[in-house]
């Protein structure tokens, strides 16, 4: 095993351990010691609005594939979808979901059905769709436009993998004066989201959806683990930089270099 491989395994084990540790330690999931993120507050708020208004929330899960790193943002989007469905189960009209990737579409439908069943929305007609609206980035955006307009959508939540086609989705929301909560892992799309979405999720905030929407202990533990690891990274960087200035070649670099 190479140094990189070993370091990689250490990272995974460390993450796993931290997550388990925090999920055991944090016995009260209700107690959220996490900074407020406006976009998630907004989601909660919009769920209430949808309930009172008899409108729908629209969640689009992006077009990211499942077999690459993009999958994570779609998976994070799915856990947000799950929470939103659970929370908006009192809506007359359950949320509508749209995706631009077939696998994500299947997963969205499974999530919807699983969640709906868990909360006993037996009426299938009311079930949110989770449909695949388009298979290329812009056809997905165009299909989602239709979803935004044709349904009685009171808020749009775009969480998943998007490219610059997100512009269409965020501005469509803006045109209809419906709040748009959006987050993605693709950097240029993030920039667009920041400028055009009413409530942007920046960077890794996207992955914290489960924790902020009450998906359970393990999600809170996840972001605690992320915080711990964040500081590890910071110390590794600062330490290495310091050593580098001092002219010392260090172990860290060798451990990571294999992958560069």
């Amino acid at each position: 095993m190479s140094a990189t491989g070993f370091t990689g395994i250490v990272v995974i084990v460390l993450f796993l351990g931290l997550m388990i540790f925090f999920s055991i330690i944090n016995q009260e999931p209700k107690q959220k010691n996490i900074r407020p993120i406006q976009a998630y507050n907004k989601i909660n708020q919009e769920i209430n609005v949808a309930v009172e208004d008899g409108t729908q929330l629209h969640i689009s899960l992006g077009r990211g594939g499942i077999t690459g790193p993009e999958s994570a943002s779609a998976l994070a989007g799915l856990s947000i979808l799950k929470q939103v469905i659970e929370k908006s189960s009192v809506c007359d009209y359950p949320p509508v979901a749209s995706t631009g990737n077939a696998v994500i579409s299947i997963l969205a439908q499974d999530t919807i059905q699983g969640t709906s069943k868990a909360i006993s929305i037996a009426d299938k007609g009311k079930n949110p769709s989770g449909e695949l609206v388009g298979v290329t980035p812009f056809s997905y955006a165009a299909g989602t436009l239709t979803t935004i307009r044709d349904n009685n959508v009171s808020a749009n939540i775009h969480t998943g993998w998007f490219g610059s086609e997100i512009t269409w989705l965020t501005t469509a929301g803006e045109r209809q004066s419906t709040p748009t909560i959006a987050g993605t892992a693709q950097l240029p799309a993030q920039a667009v989201i920041y400028a055009s979405a009413s409530d942007p999720l920046i960077g890794e905030e996207l992955y914290a959806g489960g924790a902020y929407l009450g998906a359970g202990k393990i999600h809170l533990a996840s972001i605690s683990a992320q915080d711990v690891f964040r500081w590890i990274i910071i110390f590794v960087i600062l330490g290495s930089v310091l050593l580098k200035i001092l002219g010392i070649d260090i172990f860290v670099e060798n451990s990571l270099a294999g992958s560069m």
């Binding site: 609005v49 009172e52 208004d53 594939g65 077999t67 690459g68 790193p69 993009e70 659970e86 929370k87 189960s89 009192v90 809506c91 007359d92 699983g114 069943k117 868990a118 909360i119 006993s120 929305i121 037996a122 009426d123 009311k126 298979v135 290329t136 980035p137 812009f138 490219g163 610059s164 086609e165 803006e174 045109r175 209809q176 004066s177 892992a185 693709q186 950097l187 240029p188 359970g216 992958s259 560069m260």
Partner: protein
């Protein structure tokens, strides 16, 4: 304390006794036993004192189930149809295990039964007994009534008994329900309906229907649920909003096939489970206290009913008996009549119109409730009490006791007997000899009582009626009179009364409860019934008072009830009294809190929805017009413009410079892999950026292999060749090969790096991909002379660098990227292990590349309109941004000023 006279030996027995202490004969066999059933033992007066027989919860439940059902478990099955069981898994995440929901459900179910029945009968056990007695031949009918027939459908075993036998019972129940809801509900603030009011704000539709039709259990459940968890209750909403609601009660008995109600029902069940679970744990201890209070009252007037001449304890005489006695006489007949009327035909609709009258009267309490302390506990706290009641219910114990008696009786009886026969046989002789004797009971008891009798006596009539003759009319009947007023009415009632027994049930309230009990006050829920009686008196039914007194069948009443009682207690006072008594400071606080909560719930929160801004659209138009006119104008009139070659040092340190140098070194026939990894939308920019580079490659005579990790890539490659490289006239398979689509995003890429031939065996057109001479020797990706990735996505670029670049030996990895990708890839170009050998980013680099090649291409053509577009955009953005910024500051300032003024 009243004793029950043994029917056999005539000696007095404590009324919590199931059988005679002296002769051992069951006390339930004579009329007194019935009374006992109806009105449980008074011994329970004293808090903490329990009836001799105290089966535990499960046994109680078992008992409850056993007699009513040949197969006890079937009831459970009904409650949990198979599908629901399936769902348990999915519920688990919320912390439910499979068994707990059941338990909870049962507890809530029982509560539901109790509560729902309470209105007609103060005592759970007796109520249930009554229920069971007539229904016993077909225990399942009870179920049928409580639970829509569909549930029964799920259990073949039940069907025959349940559905076949139960029709009379159904009648019974339907009449029961009608009775409860039409005539009794008004008089008795049923918890459920009260809580319904609670819920209404959140449920605009069907609430009134619900009140009337929803099986009592569900009402109760909702009561428990809604306040505690609005979120979870959607299913309930569904349930209630469903069209079936109204029909369930009226139609269910007739039709068993409908499946939708089942779903709805299930949904409520699940939610119940969750909520109950949440609520259940904390409540265990409180209940015993609450029950006694309720009984103190019951027993009091029970005694009177039982034996007007018998000696009545002083306490009871002075407090309890008086309270109940007067109420008993008057409305009893009213109720019965009402019920009868209701059952008989739809004509009653008109008659029912009288309800609004008395309802309006009952609305009186509206003002009072605000001050009433009983309600206070927050919904969440309520739940526990309920559950407690369920768990250690004295009433239930009583009930069980009695049920045992009944069981023995019933068992001895021929099961084939008609219900009426049974009833008659079981009914206390005294009561039934006179036929109308039951009217002696207080209205609410009588109503209950009458229901079974109706069931028994009027079966044929009612069967017809239920058989669908006029189910709708019933619905109408029931719905109309109550809809608006009822809500308020019950709301009031709720706010007043619920607390009565709930608060006493709570640990905190235990002491208060004791006090109350010692004073012989009526428990809250008994109280709850009284105002209705009172109200019914006031609503024009009071005319009947005299009538009742004088009426033949009631002639017995004066003799049954001590005259003093009537004088001693004004019914109105009685109704008010407990409310005063139960008001403690903490209760008051609770009331206020709850009121606040309810009030907030009712408040329509203004949903701030920004109206589509017209200026927004105009601004967009303006931007569009400016851009299109300037750019379009430049295209039409502008032509091309001479640009200068950038300084040499800049070229040398740039990506395009490095790329140019590499391509310049390639020679004829060398295989070059080009990845067309941009989406079709980016065609414009990528064509501009890549045209010159690919042109350069072709000029060098390299053999091009196209691949793409996007499905649209292969055709984009073809399009690229035909639209930008026409002059080269490259022929597929001879000068280039389109390897086609490489699925699986970065994973596919990794596979391709290691074994390209294995991963893409066939070219896009199905031909052999690797047959052409330049590719024969290519076994791994490192065998290409160069890799050029054309992409507009930073992550695709990153994937190529991370997954492919790291595996390359001497093969340089280069890129043509969109402008947005540049910030993310340039570090790979600058870093020391140079993973990216060179790159062209966007139109700007491309122009420079063209300069290097000294062959103007697309970039040169597009340069002028492109730059005009940039500068116009910058201007528009700047002006727009500045204007918006000023506006924003201005509005902030104004907001601040307003804030200061405020």
């Amino acid at each position: 304390m009243t004793d029950i006279l043994c029917p056999t030996c005539g000696r007095p027995n404590p009324d919590n006794q199931g059988s005679c202490e002296f002769c051992g004969s069951p006390l339930g066999t004579d009329d007194s036993s019935l009374r006992n059933d109806l009105f449980p033992a008074k011994d329970i007066n004293a808090p903490g004192r329990h009836p001799p027989v105290e089966p535990d919860d499960s046994s109680r439940l078992d008992d409850f189930l056993k007699p009513t059902e040949p197969a006890g478990s079937s009831l459970r099955n009904d409650f949990f149809p198979p599908e629901e069981n399936d769902d348990h898994g999915s519920l688990e995440p919320t912390g439910l295990n499979d068994s707990s929901p059941l338990k909870d459900f049962f507890s809530s179910e029982d509560l539901g039964n109790q509560e729902s029945i309470q209105p007609t009968e103060p005592d759970d056990s007796s109520r249930l007994d009554d229920f069971l007695k007539p229904t016993e031949p077909a225990g399942s009918s009870l179920r049928n009534d409580f639970f829509p027939p569909e549930e029964n459908d799920d259990h073949g075993s039940l069907e025959p008994t349940g559905l076949n036998d139960s029709s009379p019972l159904k009648d019974f129940f339907s009449s029961e329900d009608l009775g409860n809801q039409e005539s009794i509900q008004p008089t008795e603030p049923d918890d459920s309906s009260r809580l319904d009011d609670f819920l209404k704000p959140t449920e605009p539709a069907g609430s009134s229907l619900r009140n009337d039709f929803v099986p009592p259990e569900e009402n109760d459940i909702r009561d428990i649920l809604e306040p505690t968890g609005l979120n979870d209750s959607s299913a309930l909403k569904d349930f209630f909003s469903s069209e079936d609601l109204g029909d369930q009660e009226s139609i269910q008995p007739i039709e068993s096939d409908d499946s939708s109600p089942l779903d709805d029902f299930l949904s409520t069940k699940e939610i119940d489970d969750q909520n109950n679970l949440r609520a259940a744990e904390p409540l265990e201890d409180a209940k015993p206290d609450s029950e006694p209070t309720s009984f103190s009252g019951d027993s009091g007037w029970l005694d009177m009913l039982q034996d007007p001449n018998s000696t009545i304890d002083e306490d009871q005489e002075s407090e309890a008996a008086p309270v109940s006695a007067p109420t008993v006489d008057k409305p009893g007949t009213d109720w019965l009549e009402k019920i009868k009327r209701l059952n008989k035909s739809a004509d009653e609709v008109e008659e029912d119109s009288s309800f609004p009258d008395w309802l309006s009267v009952t609305e009186k309490p509206e003002g009072e409730p605000k001050a009433k302390p009983e309600e206070p506990e927050s919904p969440a706290e309520d739940v526990p009490d309920w559950l407690q009641l369920d768990d250690d219910d004295d009433q239930l114990n009583d009930f069980l006791q009695k049920k045992d008696l009944y069981d023995s009786e019933i068992k001895s009886e021929d099961s084939g007997e008609t219900i009426s026969e049974e009833e008659e046989s079981q009914a206390p002789a005294e009561l039934f000899e006179e036929g109308v004797e039951h009217k002696k009971f207080p209205s609410w008891a009588a109503a209950q009582d009458s229901a079974p009798q109706n069931g028994a006596q009027e079966i044929p009539e009612e069967l017809q009626f239920l058989a669908g003759v006029e189910p709708d009319s019933i619905t109408d009947q029931i719905v109309d009179p109550f809809q608006g007023e009822e809500e308020e009415f019950f709301d009031d009632l709720f706010s007043e009364e619920l607390p009565g027994w709930l608060t006493t049930a709570s640990e905190e309230g235990a002491q208060i409860a004791e006090d109350e009990i010692s004073r012989g006050e009526l428990p809250g829920w008994v109280e709850a019934m009284r105002p209705v009686v009172e109200s019914s008196d006031m609503t024009g039914l009071s005319e009947d008072e005299d009538y009742i007194e004088n009426y033949g069948p009631l002639a017995g009443i004066p003799s049954v009830l001590p005259a003093e009682a009537e004088f001693a207690l004004d019914p109105e006072q009685a109704a008010m009294k407990p409310l005063d008594l139960t008001a403690s400071k903490s209760h008051q606080e609770y009331v206020n809190l709850l009121k606040k909560l309810i009030g907030e719930e009712k408040k329509v929160k203004p949903i701030t929805k920004v109206a589509p801004v017209q200026t927004q659209r105009i601004l967009r138009w303006l931007i569009a017009i400016i851009l299109i006119i300037t750019v379009g104008g430049t295209i039409i009139f502008g032509g091309t413009i001479e640009t200068k070659i950038p300084p040499e040092d800049q070229v040398n340190s740039s990506g395009y410079g490095a790329l140019f140098n590499q391509i310049d070194e390639l020679f004829d026939g060398q295989p070059v892999l080009i990845a067309f990894d941009y989406q079709p939308a980016a065609t414009a920019e990528m064509h501009i950026a890549a045209a010159s580079v690919v042109d350069h490659l072709m000029e060098q005579g390299t053999y091009l292999s196209f691949v793409s990790t996007q499905p649209t890539g292969p055709v984009l490659a073809e399009h690229f060749l035909t639209s930008t490289q026409e002059k080269h006239g490259y022929i597929h398979n001879q000068q280039y090969i389109n390897l086609g689509y490489l699925p699986g995003e970065s994973a596919g890429l990794v596979s391709f790096v290691i074994a390209p031939k294995k991963i893409i065996p066939l070219a896009f057109d199905g031909s052999n991909a690797w047959g052409s001479p330049p590719l024969v020797n290519v076994d791994s990706i490192s065998d290409f002379a160069m890799i050029l990735v054309i992409t507009d996505d930073p992550n695709t670029a990153k994937s190529w660098i991370e997954q492919v670049g790291t595996h390359l030996k001497d093969t340089p990895l280069n890129m043509v990227v969109s402008a947005q990708v540049e910030p993310l890839i340039q570090p790979y170009f600058r870093a020391s292990p140079q993973l990216l050998s060179g790159y062209v980013a966007g139109v700007i680099h491309s122009l420079n590349y063209e300069h290097l090649r000294e062959q103007p291409s697309l970039a040169s053509t597009a340069w002028l309109p492109y730059n005009i577009g940039i500068i116009i955009t910058v201007g528009t953005m700047f002006i727009g941004g500045l204007a918006n910024g000023v506006l924003s500051l201005f509005s902030r300032h104004r907001a601040r000023q307003i804030g200061e003024i405020k």
